[in-house]
Symmetry: C2
Subunit: 328 residues, 2 copies
Amino acid sequence: MARGFVTAEDVAKRAGVSRSAVSRTFTEGASVSPSVRRKVLKAARELGYRVNRLAQGLNNDRSNLIGVVGANLASPFISKQLDLLSIALLRKGLQCLLLNAADARKDIAPLIELLFEFRARAIVVLSGEPPATIIDQCTANGVRLVLINQMLERTDTSLVLTDDSRGADLAAQRLILANCKRIALVTSGSNTPAQVRRAAAFTQRMKTAGAEIVLWSEGPTSYESGYRAGCALLGDRSIDGAFCVTDLLALGFLDAARKEMGRQVPEDLSVIGFDDIPQAGWKSYELTTVAQSFSSLTDSVVAALESADQETRLQVVPVSMVERKTVR
Amino acid sequence: MARGFVTAEDVAKRAGVSRSAVSRTFTEGASVSPSVRRKVLKAARELGYRVNRLAQGLNNDRSNLIGVVGANLASPFISKQLDLLSIALLRKGLQCLLLNAADARKDIAPLIELLFEFRARAIVVLSGEPPATIIDQCTANGVRLVLINQMLERTDTSLVLTDDSRGADLAAQRLILANCKRIALVTSGSNTPAQVRRAAAFTQRMKTAGAEIVLWSEGPTSYESGYRAGCALLGDRSIDGAFCVTDLLALGFLDAARKEMGRQVPEDLSVIGFDDIPQAGWKSYELTTVAQSFSSLTDSVVAALESADQETRLQVVPVSMVERKTVR
DNA sequence: GTGAAAGCGCTAACAT
DNA sequence: ATGTTAGCGCTTTCAC
């Protein structure tokens, strides 16, 4: 015992009770008499006792770690999500084991297997989709899996989905209202399920409205990609509207339009984004965008984590149009 | 055994060896013959064996979890740091147990104690300063503590510090070079050690240069605070320069100057920030700022984590001026 | 309500 | 090099 951590046995000795009494005092809903309980608590406080979660977990064959895997943690959207989620988990007495999938992107399987080693209670996937075999293992081992904004249709995972189609539809309607005729649809080369859904719904709606669409889909989902899209597309002066599937793209696009291509927004170009990240509200942009509620997204994840049953819980988080100043 | 995890014993049986043989094959630098090793690996693969880190940790009295505690995870600066750090840790075979101090701010002690319960190998504090008693416990238990941008002077913790004074000095020099006479010094009401150091060094330098300083120090460290500062301060037309101790503040300040107070930047107002967050480079801002290298910051943290000795390792990460377009 | 004892899956002496 | 054994700190029957 090089390290000086106090054990339940130490506490038991000091309190003059058995070690099981100690265990019971720290176990929710175990039967201990008030007097024993008091003695134990006192001794524990004096000694600075803390349960060893490793031993606890070993015993129950599960920790109260929640595995969180995601990439792109520095992006405004993901970081906001992570911020809220980590707070919510802590409040629920759960801990957040964060695995950055930056290197793994395509294959988050090893990350999830690592989480198994820790006997994670549940796993939240912020971005990326795990292979089927991994999902099977989760189910087999009773590890609840919560996927955010993925496509997957299985009955044994929880899905939290933004209402992408509705959002894209809202954007389309607004652009039509602004009387746009020729519209840039800006997406990234990564084509995440969410982006695909947004683009599809938008295209659909525009088709029926009889507007023309110019599609751009290159590079990572970043400010720079949006900027590049703007520079490339806006040479065509007849483009009078744009829907960017992500605010980050929209912000870059906007800067290209104004700083590089001499466009007036919203006078001769209307732009709509998606997500409502904090920067969208900054005075230099005041981007009109489709907001997804960060807090209800987090709430949904937590609800999925807590739900007892193993069945699918498909939760869709609502969107709303936030009007600012980039649409006529 | 409701849950179907495979144990070392299962593997041992299948491979026809003892369970210690299994343990050894999965332990770095243990002596196993190639043939046994092969058999074990084969059996393990077939069975889908994964070591139980909980049991492993219980045995060694330490996990390979690195506790990361911080607040404000959604801010560009912190999220970038977290992104890099979580990647670096994963590469080193370490896991990141993330504790959001949003609720705890003042008192991160309970968070660190929680980390003790998990037998975290080391603790990285992204923001906030733990009380002395907690630091004692870390030392006593051999848990290395790495503090970022804090003030603390103790011999038993690792400190990673940005070269704030040098950075502030660089900013001051640049503003003097731009011939500014009356300068706004914008900081937040939270007055973190880093902010205090920057403000102090800046004031110092300006005093010797004979320039006037108008101090602002209110609200949280955010875009909005910077914006408010700009609106409040720039009514005074004689102010011709500004140093904001954080890019987020600078961006808000900049927007207030241009959008609200009718200032031309850099023509009649020079602005410098600190940090070089991604948004500082966006075309709407092109903020001249003092950059701290995110990657060397991360490298320093990892180095501190890995160093064998318990002694202080004060590492200062260098800064550099990045000239963009907000200073004359 | 309480204590004794078994066992969670693993690693590390200790023998062989 | 390999197997045997003894814990790591905890929870949970099982008697009382």
